[in-house]
Amino acid sequence: MAAASSALASLLEHPAIWRGGDVAPEPAALPSGYAALDAVLPGRGWPQGALTELLVEREGIGEIRLTLPALVQVQAQGRDVVWIAPPYRPYAPALAAAGIDLARLVVVACRTPKDALWAFEQALRAPECGAAFAWLPTHDERALRRLQVAAREGRTWGALWRRPGQRGSAIAAPLRLGLAPHDGRLAVHVLKRRGAELPGPVLVDVGKRAAHY
């Protein structure tokens, strides 16, 4: 009996199979550095090789800090981090203090949304790029699908940031998170994931790290 159930368990490990009530196993994931968040993300981390859409309710709530431990890890693997069309100037001293290797961070300024879209796709496809963030207002479904395919082929973690007031897109990204402040902490609402729906937000304490920048 025990042998039969272990055989069943190993069968269910197959990546093509996922069960309701559970999160689907992701082929590769990047631990976020926050245990509470990892617990609800498919594959126990940020999906490597897929697009993540992040809806920010308000800027200044620790939304970038949420991603920094994963970015440090990407750089430790020898891959670049690319930020495309960030809304403000990324502040080097703070990034360096957070452990980001500035030599492996490429910030791309784009004149037009079309350029930004192109750069995002190139970054997602490039093998040397491990994580690509883009602040893009686009909702073009075809473009987003292209980006998702590019992320899969380049095995890159692509994050599409939506600034306050921008709505999310219905399709394309397999993981969509809403970020909101909650009592000095960051509430991560899993709006969409490969797996069962999650009733409430996950509270992540990114503030502790902030205090000593």
Binding site: E59, R89, A92, P93, V106, E128, Y213
Partner: protein, 500 residues
Amino acid sequence: MLWTCLLFPSLPLDVFARARSPDDAPRAFVVSGGGRYPRVVAADATARASGIRNGVLVSAALALVPELVLRDRDAEAERRALAQLATWALTFTPMACLAPPDAIVAEIGGSLRLFDGLPRLVARLVGGAHALGYTARVGIASTPGAALLLARAGHTQPVTDRALLPAVLAPIPLVHFDLPGAVRATLREAGITTIGQVAALPRDGLARRFGSAIVDGIDHALGRAPDPRACFVPPPHFASRLELPAPAHDAEALSFGVQRLVQELAGWLAARGLGVVRLTLTLAHERHLRQRGMPATVAPFAFGAPARAPARLLGVLRERLVRVTLPASVETIALMSDETAPLPGRNLGLLPGDDVVAMEIPLRDRLRARLGDDALLRLVPHAEHRPELALRTTGVGQASSAPTKQPRGKGRAASAPPLPDAPRPLWLLPEPQPLAHPLATRPWVLRDGPERIESGWWDGNDVRRDYFVAATPAGATMWIYRDHRHGVDDGEWFLHGIFS
């Protein structure tokens, strides 16, 4: 020692024809010599098919094919081409020598293992010359002189055994042997027309009659005497240009010519063990425009890391060419290396399949080629108390590619300047924003501070600010300051950063 001779029988033709894409419709093309009654020096396949032979009068050729394309022979271009080919040959061997006017000889005995044996190496030599736009014929023998003779005689079978040389060379006609015309004529009148017959003549008599050159030539070819040759040394800088067969109107039409030049550049880089960091492509416009003072279009390129692989060079150049706007059509393109850096070659893998390397163009190069040099930023922290100045951005290429060129002094602190112990936000606003209004409606909570920053009185941008970490009623954390520049203690509030 094993020598190969690369003979370029249609060199006078190829220096012009190689700028023409093979897809273009073939037109009969000949190169003519000078003089009052110029004769055809070389004719391409289409011209030969129409009955034009080398040596016929140009007027006769024109009578045969009225739409004939005619160019004057350019000996200087042929010399340059031979030097380019010798440079490229250094990709395969450390030792290549010029054999003017139309051949190079190279020692390949030491390169056989690296290039998987003689047949593959020969295929690469011929294929590589073809990619550069030249037709090559090969002769292989254990002496350079014999290799040259075999190539001229069209004897493509390698002769690796020196003992076989006399028998192989004997039937080769004397016309392929470098001799003064008068000597050759005299020998022919004596009924001597092959190398074998010359070699059979008494040495001392031959030397007395015609000078020692002929005896030495035979000895060198047969390997009886050493044949020292001056090794070709590639030029210290790469510069090559290509005359287009017809003026090109758009960047797309240029790409074929650029491809040829890039192949040459790659050969030069490999021969010198370098990778290119910066190069310049110059597009010269038509002559009548040049004479009226129109400058050439100059497109500089920079690579994020030293590059050598033709695929990578070409990929970046193509992206860049798309952005070039041509004010007029282009007649000549020139490629020049401005800055290079050592780029070691790869060792062969121990196991087969080890040495497969993806020839991808690095992302940074691709982005920069398309978006422009200033679109890519690399952040460099800078030791400075004023927050807006504690950050420098550099183009991605400069710092990484030329480490020796970084500015010295206090601005250099790319590694880690001392960071303030106080909190710093991840986002900095390009300009501090006045905060008076939001503060008046609902108060913000000051959580950390004040941190006094007072600096810069010496350069006119003096600041005197008290920085605070503040929580907004909506739950965001901001970096704000109170401006005390004017000495008043109730200065205005500004938003400067976002703790995102």
